[in-house]
């Protein structure tokens, strides 16, 4: 599904990713972990097409397509979804209007009919239950004045509506209390299907108690320093990141 080969990326003059190679297959959950500054959020942003990052070497193939040549909206229309670490506030655009616009664009890209507002409202009712959101969240402006937990839940709501093939969660657990974390994780788990995949970017192992990964990769200094199964996350929790950094240097 996703094939990343020797990916290098810079922001300004600074190289952040220094050769990432990673394959993700349908049905898999990959956790990308690492200390601050290791490049894990950059990897997420580059996959979504953030214009601040320049890819200087390597390739990313997604569903047989050259992902790096696609605009952010084309990537989304092809089934990639990035849950932002810091969801953006858009005053003046209601959540419902925004989501319906996005949903219809993605339907169009799939060759499906646009949905009418009534049917969309029914769909929203169903999806909002999944993340335990109240109805007034739809009429409020996108993320504007939302608490940290509301913003993250809103990200998962968007994900639930847009039904991506590849979901990338960028530190979705940051700033969440345990109850909000459970809600968010429940949402993500409910959306898992045999034909879609998830990349979970996180600093802490805590989230992985709820979203159980098939593979864990540890980033250090722009490279994958170590990969393993879910037990690797537990080891990181117990021992910290330093031993990985030392191994990487050695």
């Amino acid at each position: 599904m996703l094939d990343i080969r020797d990916l290098h990326a810079t922001v300004g003059d600074k190289e952040i990713l220094k050769g990432i190679t990673l394959q993700v297959n349908p049905g898999e959950v990959h956790a990308v972990m690492g200390p601050n500054g290791s490049g894990k959020s950059t990897l997420a942003q580059v996959l979504a097409g953030h214009p601040a990052y320049e890819v200087t070497a390597g390739s990313v193939t997604y569903g047989g397509m050259n992902l790096l040549e696609m605009e952010p909206e084309e990537r989304a229309q092809a089934g990639i979804f990035l849950a932002f670490q810091y969801p953006v506030e858009i005053p003046g655009v209601s959540n419902a209007y925004f989501l319906r616009a996005a949903y219809n664009e993605i339907r169009k890209a799939r060759g499906e009919e646009e949905i009418d507002p009534m049917s969309f409202a029914d769909l929203m009712d169903e999806k909002m239950k999944l993340v335990e959101m109240e109805g007034d969240m739809l009429t409020r402006s996108v993320n504007t004045g939302f608490s940290g937990g509301e913003k993250k839940r809103n990200e998962i709501l968007q994900m639930a509506v847009l039904e991506p093939k590849l979901a990338i969660l960028d530190e979705t657990d940051s700033g969440l209390d345990i109850d909000a974390l459970r809600v968010v994780a429940h949402g993500v788990n409910s959306l898992r299907k045999p034909d879609n995949a998830t990349i979970v970017v996180t600093h802490y192992q805590r989230l992985l108690n709820y979203i159980v990964p098939d593979y864990v990769h540890v980033l250090a200094n722009g490279r994958i320093a170590k990969s393993g199964g879910k037990e690797l996350a537990l080891e990181l929790e117990a021992r910290g990141y330093d031993w990985i950094l030392e191994e990487a240097v050695a």
């Binding site: 909206e73 229309q77 858009i90 005053p91 655009v93 989501l99 996005a102 664009e105």
Partner: protein
């Protein structure tokens, strides 16, 4: 200049001859003052960014001398009435009151809404007490000019403790018959103690208004103690029109003013919103939205005078400028020495959609009291790239994302309009202007 002086001679012996003596004296002193002041140049600090040469160089003929407009129906006015068929509406066509298109039959007791000519007879004391006493002719050429030609316009009076539920709409419409003419509407709004009303002034053009014309309007408002006035001004003149409009308010103790100015039309427009908070515990909220394109010039000047302690003022003006449009915002807040505990906040945000669009923004705070909380700020910018990326990352096309963000920028201040029909109507208008799907 000469055309106005000559026009004044004709006016005093024709259309304006029936006014009471005090009004005729007022007009006479005003035309004298107008002649002394002349049109302002850009050396005048208040007009530094706006040249009125296009107005000064043209010879507009007073519309009062022309025949009454016929053939306009209520259906023609529908685009400007927001479905408010049961509102209290006075319609003026090319500056002249039109009784057939107006409707004020359901006014509650204690409320008067009438054209100025009738008010001379029915509310003589009210008029003599207030007309020309608020909007100063001393330093304001256009107010002097308007005052010299006081003849038509609306008088609104709400008695003590009366709350007018439905909006009062003063609708000034121009059509082809306004070409090369000048209308000088003059309105007076008086709210007695604890009275409450919503008054909307609209300046609009029918599809036939293809020629140049000039509207020079002045509205004075008096808010007695505890009164609440919501005032909306919608400037939707034709693209060749010139518009100068002044709204000048005096506020008594514990009174509240909520003003919104929407400016979208005209080749050159200037809107002045002035208020003096003359009692303790007053509040003034001045919001506005200006949308410019092509070679439009859209200027707003606001002035809030905090005279007494413990008052607040809130101001949010936003603008979207495209093409080679030129916007001006000059917001003054004066805090007098006695006005301790003043709480003032002023914000002006402008979104520039093209390289050639420009804004001159000048927020001014002058504070002479030492225990106050006043802030002001202005931003000029382009669309937020982070927000654009966020929307695109959800599959929204780049163009749609830009359109939605532009709309959202404007909707943010339209949200503050409490009158639902107008809020939604303007949101729709803005949505249609900036989005392809509407």
């Amino acid at each position: 200049m000469q055309s106005y002086l000559a026009g004044f001679e004709a006016f005093t012996s024709n259309g304006g001859k029936d006014a009471p003596q005090w009004a005729r004296s007022l007009r006479l002193s005003a035309i004298t003052r107008f002649e002394e002041l002349g049109f302002p140049t850009t050396k005048n600090e208040d007009w530094h960014f706006t040249s009125v040469a296009p107005i000064a160089e043209r010879e507009f003929e007073p519309l009062v001398g022309r025949g009454v407009v016929t053939g306009v129906s209520r259906a023609d006015l529908a685009p400007f009435t927001f479905g408010g068929d049961d509102w209290h509406t006075l319609v003026f066509l090319n500056g002249r009151f039109n009784a057939a298109l107006s409707g004020t039959t359901s006014l509650p007791d204690g409320v008067s809404v009438m054209p100025i000519a009738r008010a001379y007879d029915e509310l003589p004391l009210l008029l003599e007490q207030h007309l020309g006493r608020i909007a100063s002719i001393d330093a304001h050429t256009f107010t002097a000019l308007n005052t010299a030609f006081i003849n038509d316009g609306a008088v609104v009076h709400v008695s003590k403790d009366v709350a007018v539920e439905k909006p009062i709409h003063l609708l000034f419409v121009s059509d082809a018959g306004a070409t090369n003419g000048v209308a000088q509407p003059r309105n007076l709004i008086v709210l007695d103690r604890f009275a409450k009303a919503t008054v909307m002034e609209s300046y609009a053009a029918l599809p036939g208004a293809k020629g140049e014309y000039f509207t020079n309007a002045v509205t004075e408002a008096v808010l007695a103690d505890g009164a609440t006035l919501t005032h909306l001004k919608l400037q939707r003149e034709s693209e060749l029109a010139y518009h100068v409009g002044t709204f000048d308010v005096r506020q008594g103790r514990d009174s509240h003013l909520v003003s919104f100015s929407f400016a979208i039309g005209g080749a050159l427009s200037r809107t002045n919103v002035y208020t003096e908070l003359r009692g303790e515990g007053c509040g003034a909220t001045l919001n506005g939205l200006y949308l410019g394109d092509g070679t439009q010039h859209i200027d707003h000047q606001t002035r809030i005078e905090h005279v007494e302690p413990n008052c607040y003022s809130r101001e949010l003006y936003k603008g979207i400028l495209d093409g080679s449009a030129h916007g001006v915002f000059n917001g003054k807040v004066f805090v007098h020495p006695a006005a301790q505990k003043t709480d003032g906040k002023q914000t002006n945000n402008t979104l520039l959609l093209s390289e050639k669009a420009q804004i001159d923004t000048k927020p001014q705070l002058e504070i002479f009291a030492d225990d106050v909380k006043c802030t002001h700020g202005a931003t000029v910018g382009r669309l937020d790239e982070t927000a654009l990326f966020y929307m695109k990352s959800r599959g929204v096309n780049a163009r749609t994302a830009r359109e939605l963000l532009t709309y959202a920028f404007a909707a943010d201040v339209l949200e503050t309009i409490e009158l639902q029909e107008v809020k939604e109507g303007l949101e729709t208008a803005v949505l249609q202007r900036y989005t392809t799907e509407g």
